[in-house]
């Protein structure tokens, strides 16, 4: 059953990625088709996750592949908040291929299996994994917005004659949006980390992943201080968001090192 749901999700996300690429070349109905692909894919993935949760004896996303599937669902869900607006469709060009790729990776690692088992208490994992993943998803979206900002800013600086061809959001709204997304995601990540640290007290040892998470938190924390305290904006702010995302990516890819196992 889980297999039956997985393929439509991958197909819908893939279709959305291709449609957004088509929309970037020639704006029109392709963008709408892409948005529907995202909506349908996300709803089917929701059903897949519900099925996994119902079948599993505990929290079913305790493996790196399982957490990756949850991460994809959170990223696409966050994208849907803005992605339905025509001006943010370009963002789908960054988000959807990544979502399709990570979902395929998760499938290869058994992340959509409906018989996952967890040795951890459900409450711990829901709080820790769920909140950390939600925080990472928000930071991923912030990075995509920052990347779009840098592309748009470069086009305007270069005085490209095609700058108006792609219906991208304005620089000011992109800049405000990625800063606000970080401001929303960091507290969520903080809560997830706090849940993890609460468990550490019961005898677990500090692993490199935890150190990397703390470093990521510090980078984004500094960014928020500078952005909202010292009026740090523009290109520097976008590069810092991307630097923070590089750490998030490293964290995501390092999960198979056994953190959740």
């Amino acid at each position: 059953m889980a297999e039956l749901l997985f393929w439509p999700v991958l197909l819908a996300y893939g279709e959305a990625a291709v449609a957004f690429a088509g929309d970037a070349r020639r704006p029109g109905s392709m963008g709408r088709i892409g948005t529907w692909g995202v909506r349908v894919g996300w709803l089917v993935q929701t059903a897949l996750l519900v099925l996994q949760a119902a079948r599993a004896d505990g929290f079913p996303w305790a493996t790196w592949a399982g957490s990756l599937s949850l991460f994809v669902w959170l990223v696409v869900g966050a994208y849907l908040i803005w992605g339905c607006r025509p001006r943010f469709r370009l963002l789908g060009l960054v988000v959807m291929p990544l979502a399709a790729l990570l979902l395929a990776l998760s499938y290869a690692g058994g992340g959509v299996d409906a018989s996952g088992r967890s040795g951890y208490s459900t409450l711990f994992l829901v709080l820790h994994v769920g909140l950390v993943m939600a925080g990472f998803a928000g930071l991923t979206l912030a990075a995509a917005l920052a990347a779009l900002y840098l592309w748009q800013e470069r086009e305007l600086k270069r005085r490209s004659s095609t700058v108006l061809r792609f219906r991208a959001p304005s620089l000011v709204s992109l800049e405000g949006l990625f800063a606000r997304t970080v401001a929303f995601s960091l507290p969520v990540l903080t809560l997830g980390m706090a849940a993890g640290f609460a468990r550490l007290r019961h005898g677990s040892q500090l692993d490199p992943l935890i150190v990397l998470t703390v470093l990521t938190w510090a980078v984004y924390g500094t960014f928020l201080l500078l952005r909202f305290g010292a009026g740090w904006r523009g290109r520097r702010a976008a590069y810092t968001t991307l630097a923070g995302f590089a750490l998030v990516l490293a964290l995501q890819l390092s999960l198979q090192m056994g953190h959740f196992a």
Binding site: G28, P169, S170, R235
Partner: protein
């Protein structure tokens, strides 16, 4: 009722010819009333075209009258009928026949002409469809999205930086016509024209008054730059009027500078400042060229939409030919049905009220079912076979003849 179009446009006639047949709103309405004469008429008159749309039973006379009204001996005219006339109007409403493809003004002009016209069922349907097609083309293609002039390109670029221009402060350096056009484009998108500065204080004051802005002395340019989000510079100064050193620290606030002057007013190295975006006249013209070529690319998609909609209109118009025949056929069938029931009245006397209703319903259903296929076929064939098919139906069913005459008529050999 045939549809007739007689007109001239920028494609056939230069402005000195077009202005001779141009009509104002009242003139167009009056001419429409005069030309209608028992039919329908709408006059569409803009700076690029004057077109008369008529629907009349005597289409040749209507066309001659319209051509006379448009001074046919002195003005080169095009004359189109039915489907071709509809396709033309749909293209006009979509902006495909305009100088700048997809320009939006024409849609309002078509609407005005429609409202002032002497309309009936055909022109009413034609113009409502044209307005719908015009909107559809602009929604489903990007033909009208990109700017078509230097000033609108400047405003669109400012929006690309700031998004909503509401609350954006614009500083005009130079108070000439070029500055004014750019200011109008920016103000139309919500920007506030905050200050005008010029070496000629009188001109600065006049332009500032037009936009309820402050006229500031030229030597205070640096101070005004601190407040401004957008700077439009268009002076006739042979030297640069805005240097990199004059721009204060923006503290992360973007500054969009539009240099419309030749020779340029603004130091090109200003573009190297972070958060500062500088566009000169060549940059803007390149954006407009790209934008126009984008509109032309979109025009191909728009043509397909217009073609499809014109076909739908042609089918509808063709179906009008069969409406009277269908009505006659139904009437003939109903006469026969009720006549036969009346004849059988004596034999039906013993029936109860409910049984009578059943007989009524039964006979009506038989007639409807018998007529259903011929009527559907007539409607379907109307678009392809046209009037010929209607004639066959009339002949087969003896429509328009007396019922007994139709029954007694000898078969053709």
């Amino acid at each position: 009722m045939s549809l007739v179009l007689v007109g001239t446009s920028h494609r056939l006639s230069p402005v000195e010819v077009r202005e001779r047949v141009a009509l104002d709103h009242e003139g167009a309405a009056a001419l429409a009333r005069r030309l209608a004469d028992g039919g329908e008429a709408v006059c569409l008159s803009t700076c690029n075209r004057t077109e008369l749309y008529l629907s009349h039973s005597d289409s040749d006379s209507a066309e001659a009258l319209a051509a006379e009204a448009l001074l046919e001996d002195e003005v080169e005219l095009y004359r189109l009928r039915d489907g071709d006339a509809a396709l033309h109007l749909f293209r006009v409403a979509a902006g495909l026949d305009s100088l700048v493809p997809g320009e939006g003004e024409i849609l309002g002009q078509v609407k005005e002409a429609y409202e002032a016209g002497a309309r009936g069922p055909v022109l009413d349907r034609l113009f409502r469809e044209a307005l719908r097609v015009g909107k559809k083309v602009r929604t489903e293609t990007a033909i009208a999205e990109s700017p078509a002039s230097v000033s609108s390109a400047a405003a669109a670029l400012a929006q690309q930086v700031f998004g909503d221009l509401n609350g954006c402060r614009v500083l005009l350096v130079g108070a000439g016509e070029v500055s004014e056009l750019a200011a109008r484009a920016l103000a139309a998108r919500g920007a506030t024209i905050a200050a005008v500065t010029s070496r000629t204080e009188e001109r600065a004051s006049r332009l500032a008054e037009a936009f309820a802005a402050d006229a500031v002395p030229f030597d205070q340019l640096g101070r005004e730059l601190e407040q401004a989000d957008v700077v439009v510079s268009s002076t006739s100064s042979p030297e640069q009027v805005l240097s990199r050193d004059q721009v204060p620290d923006r503290k992360g606030r973007p500054l969009f500078v539009i240099d419309l002057a030749v020779p340029r007013d603004v130091d090109p190295s200003l573009a190297e400042l972070e958060d500062c975006y500088l566009y000169d006249i060549d940059d803007l013209q390149a954006v407009v060229r790209e934008s126009l070529s984008g509109r032309r690319r979109e025009a191909a998609r728009a043509e397909a939409i217009v073609e499809q909609e014109a076909k739908r209109f042609r089918d509808w118009q063709a179906s009008l030919h069969v409406v009277p025949a269908i009505a006659s056929l139904r009437e003939r069938a109903e006469t026969i049905r009720s006549g036969e029931l009346a004849k059988a009245e004596g034999r039906l006397e013993g029936l109860s009220e409910s049984e009578r209703r059943t007989v009524e319903s039964l006979t009506t259903q038989i007639v409807n079912k018998l007529l259903h296929v011929p009527i559907v076929r007539m409607k379907e064939a109307a678009a392809t076979e046209g009037a010929g098919y209607v004639e066959v139906a009339r002949d087969l069913f003896g429509l328009g003849e007396d019922e007994s005459a139709a029954a007694n008529r000898k078969p053709r050999k």
